[in-house]
C-alpha cells in the first residue's frame, strides 16, 4: 500500500518559487519568441507529467493565442485610444504570461505540507511559512465556493452581461465566504498543532531531485539565450 507516492517529475516547491522569480525577469526584458515557446513547452510538459493534461494543453493554447493576437508595441501606439485600451489588456496578459504559468504550475502541483517543510529546510521562520501555507490552501477552497456563488447568480439572472451590477453583487458573498474559509483553514491548522514549537518531521521528505536541476538550468538557459539572441 503506497501511502503517498512521490512524482519524480514534480520539482521541489522552492525550485518552483525560484523559477517564478526568474521568469519575473521576462516581464521587463524581451525574450526571443522561440525561447519563450521553449519555456512554455517545458512547463506544459511538466503539467502533463504531473497528471494535469488539460492544463498542459491550455497553457500552450493560451500562449499561442496571446502571441498571435497581440501585435507589437509599435502598431498599438498608432491605434485610436479606445482600441488601444482594449489591446493593452492583452499586452499586459502577454507580458506576465510566463511567470503566471510557472505560478500556476506551482499552485496546482504543490501540497501544503511540502511547502512548509521545504521552507523549514531553508530556515524560513514559521511565522512566515505558516501564513504562506494557509494562503496556499485558500485557493482550492475558494475555487469550490466560487463555483457555488456563480451558480446562484446564474439562477438569479445576474450575468456578466451587466458587468457593473455583476461586480456589485458578487462582492458580498465573496467576502463573506472568503473570510469563512480563512477562519476554517486557520482553525484546522491550529487544532492540528501547527504552531507547536517542537521540530516537525516530514513524512515525505522534500529532496532535491534531478528534475529540480533540470528545471532551473533549462529555464536559465532559455532566459539568457532568449535575451542574448
Amino acid at each position: 500500500m503506497p501511502a503517498f507516492q512521490d512524482n519524480p517529475y514534480n520539482p521541489n516547491p522552492i525550485t518552483k518559487m525560484c523559477i517564478i522569480i526568474l521568469l519575473g525577469f521576462t516581464v521587463f526584458h524581451q525574450v526571443n519568441i522561440y525561447f519563450e515557446w521553449g519555456i512554455i513547452l517545458l512547463i506544459s510538459f511538466l503539467f502533463y507529467k504531473n497528471g494535469l493534461k488539460k492544463e498542459a494543453l491550455k497553457n500552450a493554447a493560451f500562449f499561442a493565442a496571446f502571441s498571435c493576437i497581440v501585435p507589437n508595441i509599435g502598431i498599438i501606439k498608432n491605434m485610436n485610444s479606445f482600441i488601444m485600451m482594449f489591446f493593452i489588456v492583452f499586452v499586459i496578459c502577454r507580458m506576465i504570461y510566463l511567470p503566471y504559468s510557472a505560478g500556476k504550475f506551482f499552485i496546482r502541483t504543490s501540497d501544503v505540507g511540502s511547502i512548509i517543510s521545504s521552507m523549514d529546510k531553508i530556515k524560513v521562520p514559521q511565522n512566515i511559512s505558516i501564513p504562506i501555507a494557509v494562503m496556499f490552501r485558500f485557493f482550492p477552497s475558494f475555487k469550490e465556493e466560487w463555483k457555488n456563488i456563480k451558480m446562484a447568480m446564474k439562477i438569479r439572472g445576474i450575468t456578466i452581461k451587466t458587468p457593473f451590477s455583476y461586480m456589485e453583487y458578487v462582492i458580498v458573498p465573496l467576502l463573506v465566504v472568503s473570510s469563512n474559509i480563512a477562519d476554517d483553514i486557520a482553525k484546522a491548522a491550529e487544532t492540528r498543532c501547527i504552531e507547536s514549537p517542537v521540530k516537525k518531521t516530514r513524512y515525505i521528505s522534500v529532496k532535491i531531485k534531478t528534475i529540480d536541476f533540470l528545471y532551473v538550468i533549462l529555464i536559465l538557459v532559455m532566459i539568457i539565450g532568449g535575451v542574448l539572441w
Partner: protein
Amino acid sequence: MVEIDNLSLSYGNSPEVLKGISLNINDGECVLFTGKSGSGKTSIVNSINGLAVTYDGAAINGSVRIDNKDIKELKLYEISTMVSSVFQNPKTHFFNINTTLELLFYLENIGLSKKQIDERLKDMLDLFPIEHLLNRDIFKLSGGEKQILCIAASYISGTKIIVLDEPSSNLDEEHILIIKEMLIKLKEKGRTIIISEHRIFYLMDIADRVFLIKDGEIQKEYTKTDFMKIPSEKLNELGLRDKTKVNLTVPEIQNRGNFEVRNIEFKFSDIDNKLYLKDVSFEMGKIYGIVGKNGLGKSTLLRCLIGLERKSKDEIYLDDKKLSKSDRLKISSLVMQDVNHQLFTDSVISEVSLGIKSIERSYVENILKKLDLYELKDRHPMSLSGGQKQRVAIASVLCKNSKLIFFDEPTSGMDYYNMMNISHLINECKNDNKIIFIVSHDQEFLNSIADNVIYL
C-alpha cells in the same frame, strides 16, 4: 479527566450563552450534550477544545480543567495535544489536500519520527480499514467519506479526549451508522468521547451519560437507561430528533404528471461513473424528495434539472414542450445548502426582489410578513442569523414565483423544532403551479413533508 467548574461563557456584549455549568467527565467515558439549536451545547464543546476563546472571541468565567491543567493557561496547540476535534461540517476540517498527508499532518507537527508515523498509520488501518480513502484528493471525497477521515484522524492523533460537534449533520443514514461503529471502536480503545448532537439515535449504544442543555444550563443529567425511557413526543418537545432510527415512509414516485424527464445523462469528469435518470414524470403541486447515499450525485442531479450543468445531456418536457437548459433556468429557483452563496444585496427587501422585473411592493411585503422577515426588511442579509438567512433565500424564491423550486439539504444540522418550521414554510410554498424538489438525507424531515420520493 475533564473537570468543568462553574463555567459561564458569553460572546461580546450579548447575554451569557452558558451559565454556571459544572460537571466531570471521567476517562474513557462517552458523554452526550443535547438540546435545541442555540441551547449552548456547541459552546460547551468549544470551550473544552479551546476554540470558543481563540476563534469565537468568547469570554469565559469559571474553569475547564483537563488532567488538572486549566485550559485558560494553555495555548491552542497545547490543548490540541490532549483533545482532538471533529467539526460539524467535515469540509472545514482539512488543512492538506491529500488525504494521507492530512491524516499524518498532526503527527508531523508533534514531531514523531517517520517510523513512529508508519506504526500509527498501520495501527489505525487495523482498527479502521480505510485504505481506499488514502492518497486521494480531499475535494473529491463525499461528505460522508470526509467525516470518516476526520474521525480516523482523531484516532491517529492519539489524544485521550475526542470532542465532536454534531458530526452527523451532513451525513446520510449509511454513513451515520459507519460513524457509529467507529465511535464504538474508539470507546473500546479507552478514548473519552464528548459529543454535542441533537440527532441522537445512533448514539444510544455509545453514550454513558446524557446532559440535556437548555438556555445555557444543564437542565437535567440522565444515565443512558433513564434517557431511553423518555417518550419520543417528549424528546420532540425538547427539540430533539427521535432516539430510534426513523425509516422513510414516503411512497415512491408515481410517474405521472406533465413535467417529464425523458432522459438525463451526466458523466462525472474524474470517475467512470454516470448519472442517469430516465422516463420519470413529476406532477404539479407535489413535493418530491430526492434521496440516495452521500456522493451519488444528488446535488448534481439538481443542477442538471435546473439547467446549470452545461455538460449534461437531457430531454425534459413540460406539457409536451421541450425545455432547453435556459428555459429551465428561467422557471427555476434554488435554496442552497449554504445560503451564504446566494445573498447578494445590502438589504432584505432588495434581496428578495433582485432580478425580478415589475414586482409589486405590496406583494413582496406580504411574503416578508408571512416569513417573519418584515421587521428585518432594511437589515443587511449577511448580518442575520443562519435561520433568518435561509428564510430570506426562501422569500426570494417565493417572489420569483418559479414553477420549479429546488431545495438542497435544507435541514442539515437542524434540530426538531427548526426542522418542523422549515417543513411548514415549504408547505406554504406548495401550490398547483409548482413542483418542489428536495434533496435530503433527513428521513424525519422527508416523512413530514414529501409526497413522493425518488431513489437515486
